[in-house]
Structures are given as C-alpha cells and as structure tokens.
C-alpha cells in the first residue's frame, strides 16, 4: 500500500504542477495590461478580476505541489526503511542486512530515487517561493512559478513514464541485491542531496529569469529576489563539490582529489556558471547594470545543471554515478534539456531586445572587474564543457578517446590563476569609476606579499614547477588582498555580506595553497614489504607490523597494521584494509589516512606475492587538507552573504517599496 500511496502522491503532484502552469499562463494572458503591478496599466474590468482570481490560485497550488512531492519521497524512504522487497527498486538496490543509514541513503542511491529527490527539491523550492517571496512584482512572481511548474512537469513525466520508483515486483524478491559498496559511505548520505539542492536552486534562478523575461521586468528588484536563490544554490554546489572531492580522495584509494572525471565536471560546470551569475546579479542589484548578461547567465547556469543531470543520469558516461543504462531514459532527459534550454534561448532572443538598457560604467570600476570575472569564468566553463563533451562527440563519429587531467590542467590552470589575481583586486575597486593608479596603490601590499612568497618558494623548493610556485605565491597575495576590504573599517558596522565575501575569497586562497602544495610537494612510495620492514616516506618512517582479519556489518577484511613515526614524535597506528563485501560480492580498498596539522599521510594496502610480501602504497601530502578547508570557507562565506542579504532585505522594506514606486 505504501508504494501505491507514494505513486498516487506523485501523480497528484504532477497534476498540481500542470494546474500551476495553466493558472499562471491563463492569468498572465487575461491580465495582460490589467494586473495592478504590470507595467503601464490602471484599467480595472471583468477580465482583470478573473485574472486576479486565477493568479491568486497559483501560490496555494505551488505549496500543495511541494507537499505532495515531499510526501511521495518520504514514502519512498519508508519502503526502503522497512526493506519492502516487493518493490523493484528496493530489491535491486537494498538489502535487509544493511545498516539503517544506508537503507535510507539507498533511497536516492539509484537512478529512480535520485530523480524523485530532484523533483521533490524542485517542488519544495516552488512552494518556498510561493510562501516567502512577497516583494517581487506579482506578474513576475506568477510567471516565475509558471516556469517552475513547466520544469517540474517534464521531470514528473520522466519519473512516471520511464523511471517509476514505485514499480512492484511480482513475486517479491526473497532478498535485495544490495548497494554498491563504494556507495556505502556516510558521504553518500549527503553528497547527492547537496548537489541536487544546488542544481535545483539554479532552476529557481532560471525560473526567475524566465519570469522576468515574460514580464520584461529586469531590474534591481528582480535581481534582489533572485540573489538569495543563486547564493543558496552556490553554497550547496560548493559543499557538494568539496564533499565529493574528499569522498573520491579517501574512498577510491588513488590518492587524488580531483580526476577531471566527466561526472566531476558535471558538478563543476554549474558551479562556474553560478559563480559568474552570483557576481553579475550583484551588479544588477546594486548598480542596475548587466541586465541581459545576468539573464543569459541564469539560462546558462540552469543549462549546465541540466547537462550535468543528463551526463550523469543518461548512462552515456560510466562511473559509480551512472545508474541508468536504459537508452530511452537518456533520450528523455536529452529531449527535456533541448526543450527547456531551446525554449529559454528562444524567449531570450525574442524578448531581450525589449528589456531596457541598464546603467553604464567605466572600464576601471567594480563593475568592470566583475565583467572580467565573468569573462574568465565563462572561458573556463567553455573549456571544461568542450573537454567533457568532446569524447562523446568523437565517439558518435567513430573515434574512441578520452580527455583527462593533462588537457584540463594545461588549459584551465593558467586562466584560473588570472581569475584569482583579478579576484584579489576586484573588491578593492570602487563602483562606477576608479583611478587605475590609486587602485595599484591599494594593491601594493598584496603584490609585495605575493612576490615575496613566490621568491621564498623558489629559493626553498626550486623544483616545485612553475604553476605551483605561481599558485603558492599568489595564494598568499590573495589572502592579504581578500581581507583588505576590512582594513580600517569599523568591524561592528561592516555588513555581514562583506564578511561573507571576505571569507569566500580567503577560502579560494586557502584552497589554492592546498592544491599548489599538494601538486608540488607530495611524496609517494610504492613498496612490497614483509612484516617488520620499515619504509621511509617524506618525514615519516612506516613499519609494517603484520596483518589480521577484521569484520563489519556486511563485510570482512584483511587489515594491515602500520606504525608510523615522525622524528622523535609519538608513534601513530594506521590500519588500511582490503574489504570483501558479500552483497553484492565486491572487493574494495579502504585507505587509512593520518591527518596532521600540516598534511596527511595516506596509506593503501595492495596484494600479496608468493614470497609473503605485501604491497603498500604510501603518500605524504603536505597541506592537502587546506583544499577542503578552503572549500568549507568558500561555502561559509556564501552562507554569511546569504544571511546578511536576507536580513538587510527584511530590515529595509520601506526603501524597497519606495524604489518600486519610483521605478513604476
């Protein structure tokens, strides 16, 4: 019964989405020129009243849609929790002996469940807009909710017609097939939902852009309504990428933190677009500039999250993320992608000429800096997109090839360094116009710090390589430049979003220092050792003490014991394992990692040979933890900005309304 109830809730949610779209479209059509907020009208007649009634229905319907979708998702979790093996999805992806947290996480650790999560978050976001957004022009808000419903409808259709998560199995399976052991990790419980919140947040930004295009109401009010959603999406994407990177680092046992895997790129591309959007929306909200560009970026950002979903979910790529191998599903998502992106671009082409020109600015100004930021981000985005799609295109033309780290590192790293240098200067430039010489004066200290740091690295580690030396040096300069906006300011009167910006930029510097240090100073040893043998890696000596068996809830393992000492310090014990999972039958390596203040020692146990030797792979990665610590700072900065912006908006309703009256 639970599964049927879930399916019914899903159908009802889809019906609500359809109703939301129809109400919004009809209301806007009938109310054209008569809605109180619509530009240039004060007519009030019968048509206006009907339109107002239709439009009044949009908000409640959006809320009900959100509740129904959430109910459906909760019921799916329920059938996973009780291990109802008569549901096909549970039988294929779960196992009654699995720990509870993985039963729950298993609900979205598969294609159907993850798509249901996607649409649930989408519907909840629509409901949240309906409840929370009170300041935006009503016509724009209704158009936004209509666009949101149109997106949701596509995904409901996808779920109901080609990926029903509630399909019954007759007769029921005796036992489930289990969840891929690589996915049986606490990271899994949070990683996909986090990324989905990000993707869906961008869909909200997209809906706002479509709504604004429909009503031609592109201005600071629209930008302020959209900004919290962009910020929230960006924070979630940042957390998702950072967590995904750390997951790949410790779970795969390859010692790398970013592989330029297409699936990683699928999450990076929306992040790059969202980062650009985040900065251009600020120009639109503060200075009423970059109108068309901001709308375009919102379309691009959502397109990237759709492309990401398509790449990951269509089965066109193979990795732990690609659950679906059914080609009809890929075609379905591709059709949705073309429909939405094509539709949005068409609307953009038809309407953008009608949107009034925003304010202008000088080349050397905060706006100019943000344009530079946007251009460089777009270039990186373009390169990553081409590199990710090229193998797929080549395969369609009959050539099999792959594009990996050599390509991406060579092309994106120099541009990223330029971007980070521009980022250091950006916050120190004044809005509208500034003096280049005065700017250079403000940058003296950061430039000096960067130059000194580069020189120091070059003296102490001349073999580090050009990019790591530049990267390490720049990261010190950026760290100084990013806190410079707080210099000589009364910190108690500094707005929270300024702290947010400072924190996020500082996070970039910290993360970059970690990346540069990891790529320049990592020491790697690959050895075959007998018990008692000692291996030196970096400043550590690692003694292989021997092996013993170990067991967990649904696995057994061989576990090595390594005693690690550094100089005269107290010894540490590390226990890397080779795990055997019974359901499904799989072997995985569990790396053992010692986290120290200045880096991590990473150990992996390999196979044994006939002579009783065991393979060990050891890495000493100085300051590698800064990569994820920086990622955390970036996300924290975004969250601070979000809170700061929302608080300021709440505190200044009068100013806002005054602005709206003036604009009308």
């Amino acid at each position: 019964m639970i599964a049927e109830a879930g399916l019914a809730a899903l159908w009802l949610a889809a019906a609500m989405a359809l109703m939301q779209l129809v109400l919004a479209a009809l209301g806007l059509r009938m109310g054209r020129g008569v809605l109180p907020d619509a530009p240039g009208s004060d007519r009030a007649d019968g048509a206006g009243e009907t339109a107002a009634q239709l439009i009044a229905g949009v908000r409640p319907v959006a809320i009900v849609q959100g509740v129904l979708a959430a109910l459906s998702f909760v019921l799916l979790i329920w059938v996973f929790v009780v291990s109802d093996m008569s549901v096909q999805l549970v039988a294929a992806n779960s196992h009654s002996a699995k720990p509870m947290v993985y039963k729950i996480a298993g609900a979205w650790g598969n294609h159907e469940g993850s798509m249901l999560l996607w649409v649930t978050v989408l519907a909840l976001a629509g409901g949240a807009i309906a409840v929370l957004e009170k300041r935006l022009n009503v016509a724009t808000l209704v158009a936004t909710l209509g666009a949101q419903a149109a997106i949701a409808l596509g995904f409901y259709a996808f779920l109901l017609f080609s990926s029903n998560p509630f399909t019954r199995l007759d007769p029921p399976a005796a036992e489930g097939q289990g969840l891929n052991p690589l996915l049986q990790d606490p990271g899994l419980a949070f990683h996909p939902p986090t990324l989905y919140f990000g993707y869906v947040g961008l869909s909200v930004a997209f809906s706002f852009a479509v709504g604004a295009l429909v009503t031609r109401d592109v201005g600071p009010a629209f930008a302020r309504a959209m900004r919290p959603w962009v910020l929230a999406a960006w924070v979630f994407l940042t957390i998702g990428i950072t967590a995904g990177s750390y997951w790949a680092y410790y779970e795969l046992g390859w010692g790398g933190w970013w592989f330029w895997d297409p699936v990683e790129n699928a999450s990076l591309m929306p992040w790059l677009a969202a980062t650009a959007l985040l900065h251009s929306v600020t120009v639109l909200a503060t200075r009423d500039g970059l109108r068309a560009w901001t709308i375009m970026l919102a379309v691009v950002a959502f397109s990237m999250s759709m492309i990401g979903t398509f790449l990951v979910r269509s089965g066109i790529l193979t990795s732990v993320h690609a659950f679906a191998v059914d080609p009809t599903r890929g075609s379905f998502i591709l059709a949705l992608l073309i429909l939405y992106i094509g539709g949005a671009l068409l609307l953009f082409g038809l309407r953008i000429g009608l949107v009034k020109q925003g304010s202008t600015f000088e080349l050397v100004s905060r706006e100019g800096g943000l344009v530079l930021n946007n251009l460089l981000l777009s270039v990186i985005l373009g390169i990553v997109l081409i590199g990710t799609l090229y193998p797929i295109v080549a395969q369609a033309m009959g050539t099999q090839l792959s594009v990996g780290p050599p390509f991406f590192n060579k092309t994106t790293a120099p541009i990223a360094l330029a971007l980070f240098a521009a980022m250091a200067a950006g916050p120190l430039v004044r809005w509208r116009r500034d003096n280049a010489q005065a700017l250079l004066g403000r940058l003296t200290v950061p430039i000096a710090v960067a130059a000194l740091a580069m020189a120091a690295v070059f003296v102490f580690a001349p073999d580090a390589g050009v990019l790591p030396i530049l990267g390490l040096g720049l990261s010190f300069g950026i760290a100084v430049a990013s806190v410079a906006p707080l210099w000589k300011r009364d910190l108690r009167r500094t707005p929270l979003f300024t702290f947010g910006m400072v924190t996020a930029h500082l996070g970039i510097a910290v993360s970059m220092a970690g990346m540069a240090s990891e790529s320049a100073f990592t020491v790697e040893r690959l050895v075959a050792v007998r018990p008692g043998q000692i291996t030196q890696v970096g400043p550590f000596s690692v003694r292989f003490d021997g092996l013993r068996p170990a067991v967990g809830a649904n696995w057994s393992a061989i576990e090595a014991r390594l005693t690690v000492t550094r100089g005269d310090g107290a010894p540490l014990v590390l226990r890397p394992q080779s795990r055997f999972f019974s359901a499904p039958s799989t072997v995985t390596s569990e790396a053992a990692i010692a986290t120290l203040f200045d880096g991590q020692l990473y150990t992996v146990l390999g196979a044994s040979d006939e002579g009783g030797r065991w393979q060990l792979r050891l890495w000493w990665k100085p300051w590698v933890t800064l990569i994820w610590f920086g990622g955390g700072l970036i996300a924290l900065g975004g969250a601070l900005s979000l809170v700061g912006r929302v608080r300021r908006e709440r505190r200044q309703p009068a100013a806002r309304e005054a602005w709206q009256t003036a604009a009308a």
Binding site: L317, V379, I386, T411, R617
Partner: protein, 144 residues
Amino acid sequence: MKAKHQRLMLAGLGLVAVLGASGLALSALQDEAAFFYAPADVAAKAPPTDRAVRLGGMVEAGSIRPQPDGVSIAFVVGDGKARVPVTFSGIAPDLFKEGSGVVAEGRFRADGSFAADNLLAKHDERYMPPELAGKMAAAETLEQ
C-alpha cells in the same frame, strides 16, 4: 560611453571569450586527447609512442606475472585477434583479474609493448567501461 555601445562592447567581449575558449580547448585537444586502442588496432597499424593513450581488452588467462620487485606486474591484453604485452607498477584495482576486462592508461613503447601508469577495471557487476562493453560482447560471441 553610450548605453548601446556598452551593450555591444560587452556582447563582443563575451563572443571573444567564448571563441577564445573554444580555440584554446580545441588546439589543446589535438595534443592531449587520449585515443583508445584495442590490440587489433595495434596489430593493424603501429601506435604512436609519444603520447598518452588507452589500451583496452581482456586480461589473458594465465598471463599475469608478478615481477621480482614485488610492486610491478606484467600481463597480456588480448581481444581475440591480437595480443599486447603490458607492464604496470602499482596497486592493481580490486577487480583486476585474468579473464576479465581492463582499460590501461599509459604509453606504447617502441617495441610495441605498453607501459601502463593506471589500470581501470570493472567497479562492480553493473559497471563496465563503455569502450569495453562493446568489445566484451564481441569476445563472448567469439567464444561460443
């Protein structure tokens, strides 16, 4: 500067950025894309030795030989038509075994053997590199 000019200039800059990115990406792809080879391709035409490529096929039964250093192995990748000797130093993936599929990343040597710096094997029964899925199906047909 007039508003219209500014909009045109920004659009122009955007276009330059996109074209620049495409140009840079496509030129770098010429050098850095790793082409995929099956043993039969290698037999038909000598592969390049100056760039990173991928070699995919089946690990031949009985071909895995551990080397004296304890951390290297030598094995043979075949596809029913041709065979390529491969050497690899490192910890082989958990599902790397004889009679199963593998994709090796690395370079060909002048003598036609392959020096792998990374091995990709099946993650689990549901995962298989797409290049391999086709070859495996072909190999199974051959065996019957």
